[in-house]
Symmetry: C2
Subunit: 321 residues, 2 copies
Amino acid sequence: MKPVVVDAMGGDNAPSIVIEGVREAIDAGIPVELVGDPQIADDCGDIVLHAASEVIGMAEEPGRAVRNKKDSSIVRAAELVRDGHASAMVSAGNTGAVAAAALLRMKRIKGVSRPAIATTLPVPDRPPKILLDSGAMADCQPDWLQQFARMGSAFSQVRYELQTPRVGLVSIGEEPEKGNQLVKDTHRLLAEDKTINFIGNVEGRDVLSGDVDVLVADGFTGNVILKTLEGTVQFLVGEIIAALTSEAAASVGAEALGHLAPIAAELNPDAVGGAMLLGVNGVAIISHGSAGPTAILNACRVAKDMVERELVAELTSAVAD
Amino acid sequence: MKPVVVDAMGGDNAPSIVIEGVREAIDAGIPVELVGDPQIADDCGDIVLHAASEVIGMAEEPGRAVRNKKDSSIVRAAELVRDGHASAMVSAGNTGAVAAAALLRMKRIKGVSRPAIATTLPVPDRPPKILLDSGAMADCQPDWLQQFARMGSAFSQVRYELQTPRVGLVSIGEEPEKGNQLVKDTHRLLAEDKTINFIGNVEGRDVLSGDVDVLVADGFTGNVILKTLEGTVQFLVGEIIAALTSEAAASVGAEALGHLAPIAAELNPDAVGGAMLLGVNGVAIISHGSAGPTAILNACRVAKDMVERELVAELTSAVAD
């Protein structure tokens, strides 16, 4: 297959961590190339490096950055996919900029109104759930959310091999009449959509433990959910570590933490590699800004899988029905 | 002071748990009376019981239930406040019905466009944060959110005696231009509002650990945050208990759980008693449906405090400026 291109400049620990992850991916048999500042060529060793002289910062306004920095690593990566040199792109950089660059360079899948970011929620001991849109489109229309539902369902089938993923609409009550106007209007569209397995409204408390595979929300709500979830997990993990490393807990703390470590490991976003931008004409994966080498390796692995399983063709057919 | 009236029929464990909590409140010196089915009079002993023949169920559509069940305990409780018999009401029943009954019977504070539910987020070892609206109004306008900000700030001053509470607007990025249209428009209003200490946008990850005292959101977003937070805490607590009560952890599990118990205790919503409906002409507290006796006791205590500290007058002046 054609190589996956990885943005060497993206993420809080670029380029060293990214290069490390890419090296692991290549060692695992995945064809990967880098895009980034030519000055890092030495650090890349024998990994192919496509030159891009500019870097889009994590806090830059995405639309403006993509328009102005045409020779940035994010934009160049999207172009390498568009031009057929690469099969997929991976970046741990500015989420909005990756979405904008992919959208502008690769263009939308025919029939797709707006792209959505699909985030896999790592849940210990349970099948993974997908939340979309987790931040691409802050203001949405009901028919866009319907497409998100279809794309999320198709992605769940391709990525996690679920036969008929259960699709839930995020609301503030299970009854169809609960929610804001957008959700109530979307509920009607989803209830009539025969191409998905719509199970009705789900709530914030179902995000981790509910019997649902695909959670549909506008990008504002989805992003708030994701950040609340991450913040709560981080906060609790911090409190637990403080309690168990205190002097009072000295006799049991270390061993107890050992028993709790697997829970933290499974909730670690690095395990899933990154979020998937759905709706553009190519495979684009957005990794967490704090992604470690394992996250980059896993993102490359997922990118390869999604290319081989023809994700884009499946999404095209999902929205076309 | 005039008594606090408590809805005897509200909550998952009514009336027994409610009566138990009310008895504790009376023992603590708070004047409390009950409203509910005359058939429970024997269980109430010497506690005054105001008769109400109907009960609004937890899953009933709030507006319809309040219109149709005029002799329900929730509606009668609101009327006892309106008529000047009681100083405040407390219910662990249907949240929407309590909000609707309080709004229809007590009416709005002059100048208030819409009421909001202010929920206290219990955070271990830190000053409590207030989230509003946590579910009263799913679709909001910018000027309503501005009033929520003012009312939340005044409530934080009255309830937690913070001098200049830091008010944050929930969004998906710190920059003013981040968010959906509602949030962007609201940001401009709050930035110009000299009556509050607006610190800008905050994110889901700030809900527990951020340097902010009052989190402002529309009722849809606020409710999603609250449920996501509760669901995540519950899920993690379940996972931790499972890990530490497993055979593998037998030698340390029980003691380790003992060290973690204080964290769980502080995150327990019972500790704060309930959410406050802000913007109506009276003190109305909505307790969690799963409220235990301690939650009812604490709700009565907060109700008494808010009456004595003249919350309604403070809110009136906060929105009038």
